[in-house]
Symmetry: C2
Subunit: 323 residues, 2 copies
């Protein structure tokens, strides 16, 4: 099995510089946030989003080095992502993420709200100073989509009338929008044509949806050890994802158990067993695979390069995580 | 005594449209936020910031109507202000503001974080779509300053080494930056000269500092009835403002009581009495008055108009609140 970081090879040095910059930025001025910065940008984060931005930057600048603006864009993508995780954890009252305690659990809600606001604010400021109105619009769309996704997630908890279509919309807001728009923005900073910019957007959109579906499948199929949190956590907190939505079509009993919010003893265990016995995971896997394959097709618009190849292999890797 | 809203006369109709737009924007799509929207943009808010933006817009467009962009800018200023209040209340665990329960108290932290994020996100998006990079930079600076102010406020609680200078810096980040930059942005949207834009910024900066100092004085001199919260709340939570900082210079005993965080019985009452008996309030009033007078001088750069006159009188009104 490929390790994801080996696929980042063309941008390894770039990612290291970025991580140092982000730790400095948050930690240097504010002791209060310093510890949170180490926690947020230290070991553990996969840095997938900035890696995609940097790979798209290199793939659209063949034969040249990438610019300081490309690097700044990668930082912005990671900051927006991190800020949204920190606030999500406050909203969900989550205590663990990636096997380590969340900022709200380790410090408190106060530091978590401040740290998230600081990162959003700093990313707005970096963004404005990229001096490119198209890129400002693309990324402000992402910030808006995040808020929309957060709210929709809150509204659809334990809602068994959720359709796969609305689940995909929510996944776009929560995950794919950032990847699609920031990968496109990397192309815009490389002055690619409108056509190529659109292809980059489509790569990111499909990649992001595949990624989110796989994440949602792993919540059922991985071990608690690998997840760093109990198996079935999403279902337990009422987030109905692809495997459950497909399972609901087969098994009407599941419906009632979810609607009573697992209030009777053994409800959650029963629900998990029903999802496992259904074709939910298999159908979700097929859906993810379809998005990943579609993503790769859109890379034909780019000239061949090590970075383009890495973008292709990352789409395969998303699915490999399941095995 | 003048009522503040009578000074808004030249932009009364504009403010009403704005309030309706904001309630619609937040409430229409999301039942979860709908109640919070009514709460946030309903009765009670003074709408001072959008009023200043709209007055600056009208004062810089003599003989013409203001544009949709000016109106949007006023909405953005009010949204950023409201978002920061909502998150401040989560950070401070405040339960009452303007005599009504805060969003976190009335709903919960979850809704408050979401509502604040939604407002910040929406304002970023509106901002990007003003299609003016100068204005994007001015307002992204404000968002960054807010985060900086929030953090500094957290760091300087109960810190008796705080100087008046650092208190004014913090007040700039928390209050004056939004007023200064958004009033300047109104001028930029009217295509004023760089010189006039700078004068508008100076008006807003001085106005904002005067306003914040007066607010901080009222925490000591107003009644709990008028404040809608107990007298001396700022001091009780360790926020050392102008009256206290001046009082500290006279009375070294105050120092110890603050540093032990009012842990002994009667500490807070003693501290309040010491501030009252000192020249703290008087000196803070003189400082506010100086900023308000300076603000008005910068309006000479504008042609005479009812809106310019309202901006002059608003600076006087800031001080009148004390009597």
């Amino acid at each position: 099995m490929t390790s994801v970081t080996s696929l980042f090879a063309p941008v390894d040095a770039d990612l290291q510089v970025m991580t140092e910059n982000l730790k400095q930025l948050v930690g240097a001025q504010h002791p209060l946030l310093g510890a949170a910065a180490e926690h947020l940008f230290g070991a553990g984060g996969k840095r997938l989003r900035p890696a995609l931005v940097l790979l798209a930057a290199r793939a659209t600048m063949p034969g040249c080095d990438i610019t300081q603006r490309h690097r700044r864009l990668a930082e912005i993508a990671e900051m927006i992502h991190t800020a949204s995780l920190v606030h999500d954890d406050v909203v969900d009252e989550a205590e663990v993420r990636r096997k380590v305690p969340t900022v709200n659990a380790l410090f408190d809600n106060r530091v978590a709200v401040l740290a998230g606001d600081f990162l959003f604010a700093q990313s707005s400021w970096y963004l404005a100073n990229l001096d490119n109105l198209t890129v400002v619009k693309l990324l402000s769309e992402v910030i808006r989509d995040f808020a929309e996704g957060e709210i929709r997630q809150g509204l659809s908890q334990f809602d068994t009338t959720l359709t796969v279509e609305r689940y995909l919309e929510k996944s776009y807001y929560k995950t794919a929008s950032l990847i699609a728009n920031s990968v496109k923005a990397a192309g815009v900073l490389s002055s690619v044509s409108a056509k190529v910019a659109e292809e980059l957007y489509c790569y990111g959109r499909n990649f992001g949806l595949a990624f989110q579906i796989v994440d949602d499948i792993l919540d059922f199929t991985a071990t608690a050890e690998v997840l760093g949190k109990p198996v079935g956590s999403d279902l337990a907190s009422g987030h109905l994802t692809a495997p459950v939505l497909f399972a609901l079509e087969e098994n009407p009993q599941l419906n009632a158990v979810i609607e009573r919010r697992f209030s009777e003893s053994g409800d959650l265990e029963r629900a998990l067993a029903w999802v496992e016995r259904s074709k939910g995971v298999e159908r979700a896997r097929a859906l993810a695979s379809q998005f990943a394959r579609t993503a790769v097709l859109h890379l034909d618009a780019l000239p061949p390069s090590a970075s383009r190849q890495a973008l292709v292999e990352l789409a395969d890797y998303v699915l490999e995580r399941l095995y």
